[in-house]
C-alpha cells in the first residue's frame, strides 16, 4: 500500500509538473511558433501511440520492455496528460467540421472510457475483496454448472421425496440456477433479489417436514453460493467489458487521426 501511495504521489507530481510546463510552453509559443498546430498535433499523436502500444505490450509479455505495472502507471498518467495535449492542440476551442468533430468525439469517448475503466478498476476489486471469495472469471460458468447439478440432485434427484420442494425448485430455483442473474442489482450492490428468493425458501422451510427442511437448507446454501458467483461474474465482467469500448474505439481513433494528419497536410498551404 505504501508503495502504491508513493507511486501515486510520484505520478501525480509528474503529471502536474508536466501539465504546468505544457501550459507555459503553450502560452509562450502558440502565437509565435509557426505551424504550432502541426507541432502540437505530432506530439499529441506520439502520446496517443505510446498509450496504444500498452495494449500491444500486454500481448508480448516475453519482450524485456519493463513490467506491465509500470506500463499501466505510464498509461494512466500519460492518458491524463494527453487530454491536456488534446485541448492544447485545439487551442482550447471547440472543434469545427465533421471530421474534426468526429475525431474529437472519438477522443472524448476513448478518454472517458479510460477514466471510467480506471474508476472501475479502483472500486470493483475492493468490492470483490469485501464480499469475499476468489474465483477466476473463466471458472464461473463451470462452477455454476456444478451448483446447478447439485441443486437438481437435491430437489429432483432420486433421494428427493418432496413434491413441494420439487415444485418450488422448478418454478423458482431452476431459472435462477440456469444462468447468471441479477447483474444490475449486483453492480449497484443490491441484494434484494437474493433476499427475496431466500425469504421464499424460508417460508417454505417453516411449513415443511423435517426432510424438506434439510433439503431446503441445502438449497438455500446453494442459492447463496450461486449469488456469490453471480456477484463475481457481474463485477468481473464489468471490469472486462469497459475495454470493449476503450480498445476498439482507440483503433478507430488512430485511423481517424491518420486520416486527419493526411488531410491536414494535403490541404496545407505547402501542399503540392
Amino acid at each position: 500500500m505504501r508503495r502504491f501511495r508513493r507511486q501515486h504521489l510520484l505520478g501525480t507530481t509528474a503529471l502536474i509538473v508536466a501539465a504546468i510546463a505544457a501550459l507555459l510552453l503553450h502560452r509562450a509559443f502558440h502565437r509565435t511558433l509557426p505551424d504550432y498546430a502541426f507541432v502540437t498535433g505530432w506530439i499529441l499523436f506520439a502520446a496517443m501511440l505510446v498509450l496504444a502500444v500498452y495494449n500491444a505490450r500486454k500481448k508480448l509479455p516475453f519482450l524485456p520492455l519493463g513490467n506491465s505495472e509500470s506500463w499501466l502507471q505510464i498509461h494512466i498518467y500519460l492518458g491524463f496528460f494527453t487530454v491536456l495535449l488534446f485541448f492544447i492542440h485545439l487551442n482550447f476551442r471547440l472543434p469545427r467540421g465533421w471530421l474534426d468533430i468526429s475525431l474529437a468525439s472519438l477522443f472524448a469517448l476513448v478518454a472517458a472510457s479510460g477514466v471510467a475503466g480506471l474508476f472501475l478498476s479502483r472500486i470493483l476489486p475492493r468490492r470483490l475483496s469485501t464480499r469475499g471469495g476468489e474465483v477466476i472469471h473463466e471458472q464461473i460458468a463451470p462452477l455454476r454448472h456444478v451448483l446447478k447439478t447439485e441443486s437438481e440432485m437435491i430437489a429432483l434427484g432420486p433421494a428427493a421425496s418432496s413434491p413441494a420442494v420439487a415444485e418450488f425448485y422448478t418454478r423458482r430455483l431452476a431459472p435462477f440456477f440456469a444462468g447468471p442473474k441479477n447483474a444490475w442489482a449486483h453492480l449497484f450492490e443490491s441484494r434484494r433479489p437474493v433476499h427475496s428468493l431466500l425469504a421464499e425458501l424460508e417460508d417454505l422451510r417453516r411449513t415443511g417436514s423435517e426432510a424438506e427442511r434439510g433439503a431446503l437448507e441445502k438449497l438455500a446454501d446453494l442459492v447463496r453460493r450461486k449469488d456469490g458467483l453471480d456477484y463475481h461474474r457481474a463485477l468481473q465482467l464489468t471490469l472486462k467489458l469497459w475495454l470493449f469500448i476503450h480498445v476498439p474505439l482507440t483503433y478507430a481513433l488512430l485511423i481517424f487521426t491518420l486520416a486527419h494528419i493526411a488531410i491536414v497536410f494535403a490541404f496545407s498551404g505547402g501542399a503540392q
Binding site: 469545427r96 465533421w98 471530421l99 476468489e134 471458472q139 464461473i140 460458468a141 497536410f265
Partner: protein, 523 residues
C-alpha cells in the same frame, strides 16, 4: 464449501486452467468437463478420442499391436485399425472475451475505414466532411463560384486547395508531397508562418495584387492574416500578425525608421502629427476658442449658441465630417454686408472676380434693390446710397481696398448686421479671414486648403463615437490658431482603447494592411 467462496468447490479442478489468453475455449467447459485436447487456434474442436493408440511391433512381428496410451488402459483397447475405441463427442468451441474484443476492435477498424472511405470518396460529402468550419460569406457565395470558374480555378474546395477534388488516394499523394512534409519536423519548427504558399496563387487569381501598405514590406502569405473557415465573417487580423513585422527589429530597421510596435496600448508611438509637430498649412484665419467661448459671438437664429455641431456635420456614412462650407456654416453670421446702412446688400463669396464685378456695379446693385423694395425714386435712392458710401470710404477704390485688405475690427467697418439682422457680425474685409495679396491684376485671395483627413490611412468613425462629447477628444476651446491640429493625442484614445478602457484596441481597429484594398476581378 464457504458460500462466500465459490472457488473452493471440491468438484472444481483448480489445475484445469481455462487459458483466457486464447481465443477459444472448449464448448463443454461451461459444464465443467472440458476435453483435454481443446479447440485449435481457429476455433475447431480438437476432440477425437480419449487416447492416441501407439503401435508396438515386437521383433519377429510384421503387423504389431496397438496399445492404449491412457494412464489406465481402457478395457476395450484400440480398434484393429489403430483408432481409439472410445471417441469423444465433439463440441462447439466458445469464443473467449479476448476473441470478442478482437472482433469488436476489428469491427471498429472496419467501420472507421468504411466511414472514411465513404466520406472522402463521395465528392458531394467530401467537402462537407473535411471542411473545418464555415467559409466566409464572400467565398461561399454563388458569385465566388462563378468567378472561380471564370478564372479557371477548380470547383468547391479545389478553388483554393490543390487537393480539393482529390479522393482518398489523391489526398495521401498530396499529403506526401507537402512542404514541409509530414516527417519534416525541422521544417515544421523553422518554417516561416508568413511565407507565401502555393495557396496564394489561388487567391491572386481573383484578387488583383496584395497592395501591401508599405512598398518594402516583406511578401506575406494571404492566409497568414486571412483565416478562412471561421464563420461567415472572415476573422480580423490580430496584433500577432502585425507583430510579425512591426515587432521584428530587423524587419523594421530594413524598411523604415519606425520603432518596434507590439500593441497600441503598450508601445505604439505618439501620433506623428503630434510627435513631429505638424501645423495646419491652411491660410484661412480661424479661432476655435473665440467662436466657442467668446461672448462677442452672436447667437444663431433661434437664439441657439454656436457649437461644434453647427459647422461640423457628419457625412452620409456618419464616419467623417462634411467639409465646412461658407454658405452653409459661415454666412449665417458673416453675411459680407459691406454697407452698414444697407444690410440687404451683401458681397458674393468664392471669387475675387465676382466681388470686384459686384463692387464695380454698385449703382446697378442699388438700383435693383430700390426696385425690389419699391422705392419711388430709384435714381435718388441710388445716389443717396452712393453718397453715403463715399462719405464713409472716400472713393470706390478705397472701398474696394478695404473690402479686400482690411483686417480692422474697430471703427465703422464693424457696424454690420447679420443676415437675419438679429445680431451683428464684423466684416472688416476679406483679409480678416483669408490671405489676400496684391497681384498685378488686382487682389489675389489664397484659396483655403481645408484638409479633410489628417490620418488618411487610419480607420475612424465619428458615428461609433457619437456618445462622446466632441471636447473630450478635440481640445478646440484651447485652439486660437488655424495651424493647430485639433486631433486627440494617443493618450486620449487609450482612455478607452486599451485593456484598462475595455474597448477594442487591436491594430486593425485603426489601420488597414492593404492600401488600397485589393480588387476582385475576372481574368
Amino acid at each position: 464449501m464457504n458460500p462466500a467462496n465459490p472457488g473452493d468447490n471440491p468438484a472444481f479442478e483448480p489445475g484445469n486452467y481455462a487459458r483466457p489468453n486464447q481465443n477459444w475455449t472448449c464448448g463443454r467447459a461451461t459444464e465443467g468437463q472440458p476435453c483435454r485436447a481443446g479447440p485449435d487456434a481457429k476455433g475447431r474442436c480438437g476432440a477425437k478420442a480419449e487416447c492416441r493408440p501407439r503401435l508396438e511391433i515386437k521383433p519377429g512381428q510384421t503387423k504389431g499391436r496397438w496399445h492404449c496410451t491412457r494412464p489406465e488402459a481402457c478395457e476395450s483397447g484400440p480398434l484393429p485399425d489403430g483408432r481409439c475405441s472410445r471417441p469423444v463427442a465433439r463440441c462447439s468451441p466458445v469464443p473467449t472475451l479476448r476473441l470478442w474484443r478482437a472482433r469488436a476492435s476489428l469491427a471498429a477498424v472496419a467501420a472507421a475505414c468504411a466511414a472514411l472511405l465513404i466520406c472522402l470518396g463521395v465528392p458531394p460529402w467530401r467537402g462537407r466532411f473535411i471542411s473545418p468550419g464555415q467559409l466566409s460569406q464572400p467565398h461561399s457565395s454563388a458569385a465566388f463560384a462563378a468567378l472561380a470558374s471564370t478564372n479557371h480555378l477548380g470547383g468547391g474546395c479545389a478553388a483554393c486547395h490543390v487537393a480539393g477534388n482529390s479522393g482518398p488516394r489523391g489526398l495521401m499523394a498530396r499529403a506526401a508531397r507537402a512542404r514541409p512534409g509530414m516527417g519534416d519536423f525541422h521544417g515544421l519548427l523553422t518554417a516561416s508562418a508568413a511565407a507565401p504558399t502555393r495557396m496564394d496563387a489561388a487567391c491572386l487569381e481573383c484578387h488583383a495584387g496584395k497592395n501591401f501598405h508599405h512598398p518594402a514590406a516583406p511578401a506575406i502569405s494571404c492566409v497568414f492574416c486571412h483565416k478562412e473557415h471561421h464563420g461567415a465573417a472572415m476573422a480580423a487580423a490580430t496584433d500577432a500578425q502585425c507583430d510579425f513585422c512591426h515587432g521584428n527589429a530587423a524587419t523594421m530597421s530594413a524598411v523604415s525608421a519606425m520603432p518596434r510596435i507590439h500593441h497600441f496600448a503598450t508601445d505604439h508611438p505618439e501620433f506623428r502629427f503630434i510627435a513631429e509637430k505638424w501645423r495646419d498649412p491652411d491660410t484661412l484665419q480661424f479661432n476655435h476658442q473665440l467662436h466657442l467661448t467668446s461672448d462677442s459671438i452672436p447667437k444663431l437664429p433661434g437664439g441657439r449658441k454656436l457649437d461644434c455641431a453647427f459647422c461640423h456635420q457628419p457625412d452620409a456614412s456618419g464616419a467623417f465630417m462634411r467639409p465646412v462650407n461658407f454658405e452653409r456654416n459661415c454666412r449665417v453670421c458673416h453675411s459680407l454686408q459691406f454697407d452698414p446702412q444697407t444690410p440687404e446688400l451683401a458681397l458674393p463669396h468664392g471669387s475675387v472676380r465676382f466681388v470686384t464685378a459686384f463692387l464695380h456695379s454698385l449703382p446697378a446693385q442699388y438700383a435693383r434693390l430700390a426696385k425690389r423694395e419699391g422705392a419711388a425714386d430709384s435714381d435718388a435712392f441710388v445716389q443717396h446710397k452712393l453718397a453715403a458710401l463715399r462719405s464713409q470710404f472716400g472713393s470706390g477704390a478705397e472701398l474696394e481696398r478695404r473690402v479686400f485688405f482690411s483686417t480692422a475690427t474697430v471703427g465703422p467697418e464693424e457696424q454690420i448686421g447679420t443676415l437675419s439682422g438679429a445680431t451683428r457680425a464684423v466684416f472688416p474685409g476679406c483679409a480678416y479671414c483669408h490671405e489676400v495679396k496684391a497681384g498685378p491684376e488686382g487682389p489675389e485671395v489664397t484659396k483655403p486648403l481645408m484638409r479633410e483627413r489628417w490620418l488618411p490611412d487610419a480607420k475612424f468613425s465619428h458615428a461609433s463615437h457619437a456618445g462622446i462629447a466632441c471636447a473630450r477628444c478635440h481640445d478646440a476651446v484651447e485652439s486660437r490658431d488655424t495651424a493647430d491640429i485639433i486631433l486627440p493625442p494617443r493618450e486620449t484614445c487609450l482612455e478607452c482603447h486599451s485593456p484598462r478602457g475595455g474597448v477594442a484596441h487591436s491594430c486593425v481597429e485603426c489601420h488597414n494592411y492593404h492600401n488600397p484594398a485589393p480588387t476582385v476581378a475576372a481574368r
